[in-house]
Symmetry: C2
């Protein structure tokens, strides 16, 4: 079992050390990160796997407070899987709607781009 410093964990997760501390303080992690005798944080593989899930939720636009709620459910342990599922399904729907919306807008922007391309370097 490897165990990483906060700088290494930051590099591995693509977050900053600041953000890692912030997530921990804010209850987005499943528990306080282990400490070396010096008091420095030591991140386990399990920590990193969870942080990756948090990153996925954040990267798809889930607000911090919802991630916190999801983390709280997981922390509680077995028995609330239906609730976790509901949370993820609700998020999934939001993300899909957003993807569709953005895709639609992008298509419209593409039309604009095509107009400019014709103006700048007209098709023969």
């Amino acid at each position: 079992m490897t165990s990483l410093s906060i700088a290494e964990a930051a590099e591995r997760t693509g977050l900053t050390a600041h953000t890692l501390r912030y997530y921990e303080r804010d209850g987005l992690l499943l528990h306080s990160v282990d400490r070396a005798p010096s008091g420095h944080r030591r991140y386990t593989d399990e920590d990193l796997r969870w942080i990756q899930m948090v990153t996925r939720l954040r990267a798809t636009g889930m607000p911090i407070r919802d991630v916190r709620r999801y983390a709280a459910l997981v922390r509680e342990g077995d028995g609330n899987e239906a609730e976790r599922l509901a949370l993820l399904l609700a998020h999934r729907e939001v993300v899909e709607r957003q993807l569709a919306e953005v895709t639609g807008h992008l298509r419209a922007i593409d039309h604009k781009i095509a107009l400019y391309e014709n103006k700048v370097a007209p098709a023969p």
Copy 2:
């Protein structure tokens, strides 16, 4: 040519009256909106079309300052089409990368969802 009050324009564009004033103040529109003799804003169809473009750019994540730059280019008039095109193409690329990233994360979240679905209501 219809011309709408700020409340009507808000309804039509899906923005709030607050946001419409804010966009105008911040230079996101092509020019100051016309006024009725009372001083109230009157939005033309052309205004609404431009605001729709702004909305598309914003909804795809373009920062306010970039929208402002694009608006400035359009305001300048003919001759800078290549620059406008470059701005839109750059934005397009950002959006596509983002769409790909979000889609990837969503797929991973879907796996998690599938696990929970099996746990909550196991497949027969």
